[in-house]
């Protein structure tokens, strides 16, 4: 009974941890309701003494009924009884919720589907907790499902879980454990007496004893629980972290990220045209890479064609594809054959770029070092964010460009491309002339690659097409007009048309939008608004997506457009492969592509590249080694704090010890001396105490100075001189503490040093090192503090018990 309720409380408090994942509070009430339903089911099965396996079934049934009532009551019979259509409705909502979760980044808006999914999840956890705690009677094990619930926000959110939510959840679990303990003790009899000694020696006898008998177990349980929670919350704050962790931020969602978590898809094409139309050139970004070659920087990949223009499917950024999680997903379709050129590029986005939520990147990015929550779309490797903006950002990207040879590309003919069908999809009403044109252009092509080349050649052949920015619009006939009639357009038309024709001949294609390589200014490459560009990417199984360049370059075309090596018209020298879009094959011949077998660990390659070429700015985000080094150094410094504190304390004490006490001449001086002497002796005694603690021969609290001196002398066989020094200290302490007039106190620093040396000689070298570097005596203070804290809890508990007893008595 009690356990069932406690299990419900624990599940519900654990669900608090989910709060940063949602925008509103609706999920909270649904979760509360569903937990109540599960608890009710648990109470029923306890009441009816149902077998353990029946309880979860009942819980599931209760959950189902509750969810039907909440989400599909209009389709259910009498609001609650599930019918076929209500089940279908729930299923639909679940699917919608699942899709929403995939689409949105946390905190997600509260659609019905998401709430349903959350409530269902919480219900499953609650049922599992109830099963473990109340049925199988393994309350501690029920921490596992609760932990599973707690890991959900921890994995999804990059920010730390809010500490108050953690405390609430932990208290819930502890109350479950306490309930279990009470139940157990209730079944088996009297609680075990667990008391602290301090309690045993003070306080009123009858009250203390009575309290100990009834509540000792619960009391110590609570104490341990509170201490554990306190440690769990405070300790991580004290530990050094590699990155600054924002501690004590209230709630993860509370950072004021605002709404707008759904990815807003800009109209890239309109944007592109707008940039190209700008009267003056503005710098968009600059970049530098380790082989100092210009590269196309892709921002968007448009994959769907509706007959008029290319559009973008909503990109999906799963939490595991965050850039900070290490390497991005593998580039699709890239097999082991092509040689790989690993490049590291440092990109700086201008501050003036507004509302850019996609990163311009060379394709294919493998790993990105960037601040903020950026995620990669698995299919297209676009990197975007729902809350960050790229303006002013500086980041580094490692790319692995495939460098296929013409032979290799030729050899890929006939392999069925394993891509999403949307990259091949063409609308039904595609004009027949266009279809015919595709067949006509590629007629005589021996391989798919050959066909792609022929398509590109069709656009670039001098006289065939004319580059002009003034081309108008996207009417339904725009494609046909461009391809068949006018043959006038700019990069967008070229890219889209080539992509359409490629699809027509069975080559998966998409349209990339971004920037060309720009112009070199000093050591960096500068990309301006007039470098906005669009180009088609064609897919070859085994190599992946390759950019082609149908747009004319130079003065009569897109100024900085470049035709990739593999896409240059044959015959061409392809032995010395080079990075993709380069001015010429010869200039890149010196580039040493890395062997494909070394491509496995991209992270490592990335480092090597960095080190070998040394083009990374040194002040940039530091390498892992340096981070580890700094972390270790910080840790070391932190570890040395006790040693430093010890040294400070010692020197302070020794200074007070060196004070000379003269013979008191009158009563006033005598009192002063006695006061000063007291201080001196206290310092000596405290220092001796700490020395002993550090050497592991700590004084018992019941050990008098005299007994201590005796024990040390015997146990460690001190020589006469040290023994005399020790007993001088002990005697002085004794006199100061207990005698009417302590008399003359000699300075004790020499004695103290002698004793310390004598004791140090008896312990091992390791122990001595530890006493210096990590003195336990400093840590003892912390322990004392903790004990005092626990005593505080005890006191509160005692007050409560007394009050209860008084109420019972009265």
């Amino acid at each position: 009974m009690r356990l069932t309720i406690a299990a419900g409380v624990a599940s519900f408090t654990a669900a608090f941890l989910l709060s940063p994942l949602f925008q509103g509070g609706g999920w909270f009430w649904t979760s509360l309701g569903v937990v109540l339903a599960v608890v009710a089911a648990g109470l029923v099965s306890s009441r009816l003494s149902l077998p353990a396996w029946a309880a979860p079934l009942l819980g599931l049934a209760a959950t189902w009924i509750f969810l039907t009532l909440s989400f599909a009551s209009d389709k259910a019979w009498a609001l609650v009884v599930p019918t076929k259509s209500s089940v279908v409705e729930l299923g639909r909502l679940l699917a919608v919720g699942w899709a929403d979760i995939q689409r949105f980044a946390a905190p997600v808006p509260e659609t019905e589907g998401v709430t349903l999914l959350t409530a269902g999840g919480v219900a499953l956890i609650a049922i599992a907790v109830d099963l473990l705690a109340a049925r199988v009677r393994r309350a501690a094990l029920s921490g596992l499902p609760l932990l599973a619930l707690a890991t959900v926000p921890a994995t999804i959110l990059s920010e730390p879980i809010s500490w108050w939510a953690f405390i609430v959840a932990a208290l819930g679990f502890i109350s479950l454990l306490i309930a279990d303990g009470r139940e157990r003790v209730g079944h088996w009899g009297r609680a075990v007496l667990v008391r602290r000694t301090r309690q045993a020696t003070s306080g009123t006898p009858s009250a203390a004893r009575a309290a100990a008998d009834t509540s000792g177990l619960r009391l110590s349980g609570k104490r341990i629980g509170f201490a554990a929670i306190l440690l769990a919350v405070l300790l991580p704050a004290a530990l050094p972290a590699m990155e600054p962790v924002s501690f004590f931020t209230f709630g993860v969602g509370g950072r004021g990220s605002g709404p707008g978590n759904s990815i807003s898809i800009p109209n890239p094409i309109a944007n592109l045209k707008g940039q190209l139309d700008l009267p003056e050139r503005r710098v968009v970004l600059t970049y530098a890479n380790n082989d100092n070659k210009p590269r196309y920087l892709r921002i968007y990949a448009l994959d769907t064609f509706d007959g008029q223009q290319f559009g973008m499917t909503q990109p999906k950024g799963a939490p595991q594809n965050r850039t900070e999680n290490g390497p991005l997903p593998e580039p699709p379709g890239l097999g082991p054959e092509p040689k790989i050129n690993n490049v590291v590029t440092n990109i700086r986005i201008s501050d003036e770029i507004a509302r850019l939520r996609f990163l311009p990147l060379p394709y294919p990015p493998r790993e990105i070092r960037v601040d903020g929550d950026w995620r990669a779309d698995v299919d297209t490797l676009m990197v975007f964010s729902t809350r960050e903006e790229a303006a002013g950002l500086e980041y580094e990207v490692a790319t692995s460009e495939p460098q296929p040879t013409v032979d290799l590309l030729d050899s890929l003919d006939g392999i069925r491309p394993e891509v999403d069908p949307r990259f091949l999809a063409l609308p039904e009403d595609l004009p027949q002339e266009v279809r015919d044109l595709a067949e006509e252009v590629t007629a005589g092509a021996t391989t798919t690659y050959d066909a792609a080349l022929k398509l590109q050649e069709f656009f670039t052949k001098p006289g065939n097409f004319q580059y002009d920015l003034r081309t108008q619009g996207h009417s339904s006939s725009a494609l046909r007009d461009f391809l068949i009639r006018d043959r006038v357009g700019y990069c967008e038309q070229f890219a889209a048309s080539m992509a359409v024709l490629a699809r027509q001949v069975g080559i998966p294609s998409r349209v990339a939008i971004g920037y060309t390589g720009g112009v070199q200014v000093g050591e960096r490459w500068e990309v301006g608004t007039n470098d906005s560009h669009s180009w088609p990417e064609l897919y070859f199984e085994g190599v992946g997506w390759l950019p082609f360049e149908p747009t004319p370059s130079g003065a009569a075309g897109q100024g900085s457009a470049r035709v990739p090596v593999y896409a240059q018209p044959r015959p061409v020298e392809t032995t010395g492969t080079s990075s993709t879009p380069t001015p010429g094959a010869s200039s890149s011949a010196a580039d040493e592509p890395q062997s494909p077998t070394a491509r496995r660990n991209i992270r490592e390659l990335d480092r090597e590249g960095t080190v070998a070429t040394g083009t990374l700015p040194p002040d940039d985000s530091m390498p892992l080694i340096a981070k580890i080094g700094i972390g270790l150094a910080a840790l070391l410094l932190l570890l040395l704090i006790p040693a430093a504190a010890r040294l400070v304390t010692r020197s302070r004490r020794v200074r007070s010890l060196g004070w000379k006490v003269s013979e008191p001449s009158d009563e006033l001086t005598a009192r002063m001396v006695s006061g000063r002497g007291r201080l001196t002796v206290a310092a000596a005694w405290a220092e001796l105490d700490d020395v002993l603690y550090d050497y592991g021969m700590a004084r018992e609290t019941s050990e008098t100075p005299r007994a201590l001196a005796r024990r040390l002398t015997q146990q460690y066989e001190l020589d006469a001189e040290s023994a005399a020094a020790l007993s001088a200290i002990a005697s002085a302490v004794e006199r100061v503490l207990f005698a009417r007039d302590p008399g003359r106190i000699e300075p004790m620093s020499k004695d103290l040093r002698k004793v310390r040396q004598a004791l140090a000689a008896t312990v091992s070298r390791g122990r001595r090192m530890r006493a210096v570097l990590l003195p336990p005596s400093t840590l003892r203070r912390l322990r004392l503090l903790g004990e005092r804290l626990l005593d505080g809890f005890d006191l509160l508990e005692t007050i409560r018990l007394r009050r209860t007893a008084a109420q019972k008595g009265g």
Binding site: A200, T201, A683, A730, S731, E734, F738, A739
Partner: protein
Amino acid sequence: MAVTHDVPPQLDELVSTAHRIRQAIESVIEGKSDAVRLTLTVLLAEGHLLIEDVPGVGKTMLAKALARSIDCPVRRVQFTPDLLPSDITGVSAYNQQTREFEFKPGPVFANIVVGDEINRASPKTQSALLECMEEHQVTVDGHTYQLDAPFMVIATQNPIEMEGTYPLPEAQRDRFTARVAMGYPEPTAELEMLDVHGGTSPLDKLEPVATTAEVRALIEAVRGVYVSQAVKKYAIDLVVATRHSPDLRLGASPRSTLQLVRAARAHAALAGRDYVIPDDLQDLAIPVLAHRLLPSVEAQGQRRLPEQVVTDLVRRVPVPETRSS
């Protein structure tokens, strides 16, 4: 190891006198310096001593030796089941000549009273000792007679498991400052005993080494020994700990706190110190406290003696110390 320091002048005489008495007693009792020391402590603390052990280990010898070495009136009472209270306190007898009742003082009218096998007498007789021990006075037929100072009862008793004994009631046990167990002598000490005391009783040769006035002065000096607040607090802590120990059914009384501190004064003075240190209390905790305590049923079941409980408590109660600034 003795911690050397100067003996204050006012204790000089005390230390030397006490030393003489100790030597005198130890010439009779071999190898029992602890028991002898405790006996002296109790004497100087104006308390009473209970010597408990099996027959024949020198209980009575110790009592007699102390009595002999001080030049003062000593009376010895052999407690038997038929002993009457008036046999101890004294009776009023009718004087034919003066035609008046005259008080015939009993054996308690002495400076040192040796009560042999005190637990063989009936409780009624035992309790007759109570008033004398606590109040240092005797009341017979409405008249109160003051006892001489110093007044010390040294009672011996056989362990309560022995046949024909009446265990001392708690109230009476509480009146004894300390209980000491003689224990069997070491083999070497026993051998020496045979060699030296084989023929004659050593008691016969014992001459008094101190006078009553001297002892009174010693007691006065002991009263002047300083007890700091911290030590008083520590004494209270120790006694209170016995009251809260789950191993004890009956803890020590406030009277025992008083006696503990008094005995500690004497203990300190005997060591030549004019102030009490926690060590004094620790040394005396078992003899002063253990005989007053009643173990709980659980402790009895575990065969834990009060002595062991007190040892544990002494080990647990923290001594007063300076708080480092």
